[in-house]
Symmetry: C2
Subunit: 487 residues, 2 copies
């Protein structure tokens, strides 16, 4: 018979390799872990297992899970992969923003909407009905609630029958890009923009997230009279709003910006964007974290296509950190699939998604050796139809191997997944399986600070603040006798 | 800019790591490969991508694919993971076997059927209607075709709306085990049994498979008068039928048996089965390959549960090769999930399925170092609901890393996937993606011989026969000018 102690040793050895496997837990943590394990077993053996279901159908179940409620209370560190247009949930956009004065709406021919704030009826827009003032429109409606619900449907992918609404990757991406256009008229109105950012930070803070690295194209904002502000205005607005927020919430560390451009652009346009990003990073080093390309990889241009543009900083002897989306694809062996290797060749600081990374042993080794963390966004990958059952998410391999991983929510507003807790739940219960434990959650949270773009000294401060929050979290949720022991 | 030649080197390095990456292709092979690549690109960019669909819906599409038709013609080597009850397709069972004289049927309360051959009306069976002679029953039917179709539905999982018919893993496994019971009355009738085995070999041979390693519980067979033959009778029947088949098809290498028992048995029952397997291996070393446990892992007993039984051979100083099913689960971190490590600790010769292997870096390393091949059965894993889109199959990781892998079809009769070609298609187009090429197919075919239980000398002969078939395959399918060059 195989030696049982040798077998135990191998099981332990394997367990110690995984994320959180080398985290030492205090007695109180171990007790909470035991509870957590039981709760998780309960979720895993229930007739409906949320991570095996589409998130839109699983959200209600997740909300009722005690594991989720614990994760909500847990200090999760930083959100490192969120896109600005999708920072805030659609109900706030509809119930708050569209109720503001001077908000016009038009209905596009392809069943979407556009918004514009203006002190006069805007000039008609091609492909859209005539502009109507929302205030007037609502006054004539018998049921504004119904109308508001339909507006919300226009500002989120969330729907009750996702399989029917989005049968293919193409259809869901089309709708996805459509919603960005619908949202943009609302959030690029300068006064709304500041409230929007504030509200975004608030939603994250309420979910026990302490810092945000935001990907944004720094859209130009506009005033009621049509005045347009430049990108720098937006950058300064982020800074100002974050400072205001931090004054009220001193345990929040603010936000830094990853400037993005869409991968449909030409090489020369990307060159120009990079030069501008370099300039802004020089003027606002405390807020500009780096640069990225966005948009669907499968149908977009590859990193290697943009190689001349992406080489500019190093040719100029300037460091502009990259945070590339790469490998958000299941098309193995295509050009798109090479983005992961190229992201690494261009010295990316992190990999956005890296869904395809496990198909590339060499790239995986390089990213591990260099400590290039993968930003795993479980719900996003599921909603955008890369994977249906999250137990099959390739991050399960990365987590089992202790690869540097952080968890984020990509487009929480669009997916109905406000904050990070839903994605942490999917990663913890679905991707991590029963092997993932309190140490896993702890390491994932700490990773988010460790692999952030914060300076070493701010990181130290962040870890100290996070540790205090963590200790409180344990104190408040570990069984009573430990709580009283410490009081 | 990253050095483009350095980049090419890295891409090549990664490509060379994958299965088939170090296979050198002749000029004719390279030409066929170019064609194959284009055909595959065509399949991958079609509006409906078969590996992303349920096999039951994709089968028609696959049949029309030129990639599939090439794979059908390709000499695929050996089928190393097929279960005997599911060796032959349901249409042969209905159209041939149930039309034989003395075939009785009864209809169970839970909507299945049972069969029995008998020279008198059999004694009623609990849970079933009275036995009816099929001949009489059919004579009274207006539409026997309709009836036969419904019989076929009872003998296969194949159905047009699989998602509706099998909403959960539980429901599909229940139906799966039900069908085994339905089939058994037909195929354990002694005269049918021999024809059944012959037909099974024929179906494989027609799909260009040259050798079979069959997992079977060696059920007792029966005669019309109720006489029961023992397990040895079945074993000898396999041997005799294989010999008969080989006389007519000298390029076929026969079949060897992996004796199986169900994992619902007790430790002492498994002990007895192992002792019997040891005895039969001693008497019939040329046909008994080894031992395995079968049945759903998630709800069954673990290998470690049976440790006392599984240690018997080594304690007796006898070598009984194991070919364990292990890791046919997506429940990470459970006891079931430990089967992979235990299979290796008990020195398994191969791993059946190993779906969970990539979640276990240590076990993966051990299996690789020891050359323990993983028997990947793509369609089975999809039908039994471990994965929906085969691009997400974990074997993509194994293939990318050059892990020892063989492809098999598990239960072709049950899945409507006669032979190996359908599974090769899914592995080549879906799991392997665009990275997999002719060298991949070549290595997978050669692996099936290399990792078989055949003796070294027979392996050499097998490889020689296979190579001749392969050369012919290339000659016949490479562009014309190469064909004529060689003639």
């Amino acid at each position: 018979m195989p030696d049982p102690s040798q077998r135990d040793l191998m099981l332990q050895q394997e367990a110690s390799q995984q994320i959180g496997g080398r985290v030492e837990l205090s007695e109180a943590e171990q007790h909470l872990n035991t509870i957590l394990h039981k709760l998780k077993e309960h979720d895993m053996t229930a007739p409906q297992f949320p991570p095996a279901m589409h998130f839109f159908k699983a959200r209600n179940l997740i909300q009722r899970s005690p594991v989720f409620r614990l994760i909500q209370k847990m200090p999760k560190g930083a959100a490192l992969h969120i896109h600005s247009s999708s920072l805030v949930s659609e109900d706030w956009l509809v119930k708050n923003v569209t109720y503001r004065p001077n908000c016009y709406i038009c209905f596009t021919w392809d069943q979407s909407v556009r918004f514009l704030f203006s002190n006069h009826t805007p000039f008609p827009r091609w492909g859209c009905s005539f502009w109507k003032l929302l205030e007037t429109l609502r006054a004539n409606l018998r049921d504004p609630t119904d109308f508001d619900n339909s507006l919300m449907q226009n500002l989120t992918l969330f729907t009750e029958d996702p399989e029917k609404a989005y049968p293919t990757q193409e259809s869901v991406w089309e709708r996805f890009e459509q919603i960005f256009l619908a949202v943009s008229g609302l959030i690029t109105h300068a006064p709304v923009f500041k409230d929007f950012v504030y509200r975004g930070l608030e939603q994250l803070y309420n979910d026990n997230v302490m810092y945000l690295e935001l990907r944004t194209g720094l859209s130009r904002t506009y005033e009621l009279d049509g005045t347009i502000h430049d990108q720098e205005w937006s950058l300064r607005a982020y800074k100002t709003v974050a400072q205001q927020f931090m004054e009220k919430h001193p345990d929040f560390l603010g936000t830094r910006i990853i400037i993005t451009v869409h991968r449909v652009l030409s090489v020369s346009q990307v060159k120009a964007a990079i030069m501008e990003a370099i300039r802004m990073q020089k003027v606002y080093p405390e807020i500009v974290a780096g640069f990225d390309l966005v948009g669907r990889e499968d149908s977009g241009r590859s990193l290697w296509y943009f190689r001349e543009a992406l080489s500019l900083p190093s040719e100029l002897g300037i460091s502009l950190p990259f945070f590339f989306h790469a490998g958000e694809t299941d098309s193995e062996g295509t050009e798109v699939d090479e983005n992961i290797l190229d992201a690494l060749l261009f010295n990316t600081s992190r990999i956005g998604h890296g869904y395809a990374l496990t198909h590339h042993p060499l790239a995986k080794e390089v990213s591990r050796k260099r400590g290039v963390a993968v930003e795993v966004c479980p719900i996003s990958n599921q909603v955008l139809k890369l994977v249906s059952d999250l137990r099959n998410h390739p991050a399960a391999v990365l987590m089992a191997e202790g690869h540097p991983v952080v968890i984020s929510s990509d487009d929480p507003g669009m997916f109905g997944s406000s904050g990070l807790s839903y994605d942490f739940y999917e990663a913890f219960v679905g991707i991590g399986g029963l092997s993932a434990h309190l140490g896993t959650l702890k390491e994932l949270a700490m990773n988010s600070i460790r692999y952030s773009s914060l300076s070493p000294s701010v990181k130290d401060r962040a870890i100290a603040i996070w540790q205090r929050k963590w200790d409180n979290f344990i104190l408040e949720n570990s069984p009573q006798r430990f709580a009283t022991d410490k009081i």
